[in-house]
């Protein structure tokens, strides 16, 4: 058999599944994700979208099947820091300000060359709220602080679980803009969403999962 693709996919899943008490959470799925590609994960409530995200992030172990990162079996220490996970829990400390939260994230993960926290917070629509404790921000503003991590931290694969939740129209446009920029720079993203995604950079791929 002759391999026709020269480029190795960034992330590849073969018959991936997850077992909870010996019951599969979702039917085995196969997919490939190349650099510069966006894929939407679709499924009903409880079909295992978040579970899939947590497996890909490395928080849950692979139940069955195989997962490859840049063509090699995925191992935690080989891809940490290259994958950025944004889940339902935003991972923000309520007592700290957006600036302090981002400083910690950058302190642990590093930061993109030439990025500054002040300009990122302004870009994300939180200018003037930099030093306000996160507990005083609205749900949508908290989400924006979490989204600011996408701009600040270096990562090639974004795993966004319901990134549009709690966001207003401008916020949704902002997420789409961030995704377009990320893909244009050669990054890849997996997104779960119930809402309509009006993505301008071509039709995204759809990965359907069934319970």
């Amino acid at each position: 058999m002759i391999s026709t693709t020269l480029t190795v996919p960034l992330l590849e899943a073969r018959a991936l599944s997850f077992l909870r008490q010996d019951e599969p959470v979702f039917a085995p799925i196969d997919f490939q994700l190349d650099a510069g590609e966006l894929a939407l994960i679709e499924g009903d409530n409880g079909s295992g979208k978040t579970t899939l995200m947590r497996i890909l992030a490395g928080l849950l172990h692979v139940g069955a099947g195989e997962l490859f990162w840049r063509g090699e079996p995925m191992q935690r220490d080989r891809c940490t820091g290259e994958i950025l996970f944004l889940g339902h829990q935003l991972g923000l400390k309520a007592d700290l300000s957006p600036r302090e939260n981002l400083l910690i994230a950058a302190g642990l993960n590093g930061y993109r060359e030439g990025s500054s926290i002040t300009s990122i917070l302004a870009e994300i629509g939180l200018g003037g709220f930099e030093d306000e404790p996160v507990r005083r921000l609205s749900a949508g503003q908290k989400k924006r602080v979490a989204l600011a991590r996408l701009l600040l931290l270096p990562a090639s694969l974004w795993l966004l679980d319901e990134p549009y939740a709690n966001l207003d129209r401008i916020g949704i446009a902002l997420v789409n803009h961030l995704l377009e920029k990320h893909l244009a720079a050669g990054g890849a993203a997996l997104v779960t969403s119930h809402g309509a995604v009006s993505f301008h950079g071509g039709e995204p791929r759809h990965i359907r999962i069934h319970a």
Partner: protein, 228 residues
């Protein structure tokens, strides 16, 4: 893209937890007040008899400090589990065990250190001879980090379960018995003018072992807690 070094990541982690503790200063004062009140009540309950108070002083202070630490132990990881910061920490490209070590250090600095600072005051209230106080402080300096480390492993093990306080207290009790025996033994020996270096050396040995192993156990336990 710039990746932070280990020292920078450790500093960021330590600064985060200390800032958080400072924002909730009232919580730091709680164990200190608890220890003060408990120690103050002993002379009232037992009568102001010098010899009796002197005899029990070392034990009372150690047990009071231990119980006061137990008050704050429960919350070591709970807020991080709830708001998802623990997930972010696990996914960060840093050795999790080292980050846990920093968290435990921050926890010890904010709960045990204030208790050690007021220990001479507690000792004075129970008429412990001034010559014994340095030994008491040394014993506390070795025993309290040992308790923080052992406690952190148990808190990590029970991190996924709700209402884990009861379970935690039951599991911690047998583990802290040796620490209390050696620390109280050192204070008692010093009070009787006997050499006290042996029990202190045992505490030191246990602490060294715990410093190496506890953060690793903590990291493993938290990974398991998240993987469910």
């Amino acid at each position: 893209m710039t990746r932070p070094g280990l020292a920078a990541a450790c500093a960021a982690m330590l600064r985060r937890d200390l800032t958080l503790a400072w924002r909730r200063r009232g919580d730091i004062a709680m164990p200190v007040l608890y220890a003060l009140i408990v120690t103050m009540l002993f002379p009232f309950a037992l009568g102001p008899e010098d010899t009796l108070l002197q005899r029990i002083a070392g034990g009372v202070i150690l047990v009071t400090v231990l119980l006061a630490m137990l008050l704050a132990l429960d919350g070591m990881f709970s807020s991080d589990v709830e708001d998802g910061s623990l997930e972010q920490l696990v996914l960060a490209p840093q050795p999790l065990a080292l980050m846990m070590g920093m968290k435990i250090l921050a926890h010890w600095m904010t709960t045990a250190l204030p208790l050690i600072v007021i220990a001479p005051l507690l000792a004075a209230m129970l008429h412990l001879p001034a010559a014994v106080i340095p030994v008491l402080l040394l014993a506390l300096l070795l025993a309290t980090p040992l308790l923080s480390l052992l406690g952190a492993v148990l808190v990590a093990l029970t991190a996924g379960t709700r209402r884990s306080g009861m379970l935690l207290a039951l599991m911690l009790l047998p583990l802290c018995v040796p620490a209390v025996i050696f620390a109280a033994g050192a204070v008692a020996a010093a009070q009787q003018g006997l050499p006290w270096i042996a029990p202190v050396a045992w505490l030191g040995a246990a602490l060294v072992l715990a410093v190496v192993l506890a953060p690793l156990a903590c990291a493993a336990a938290l990974r398991i807690a998240l993987d469910a």
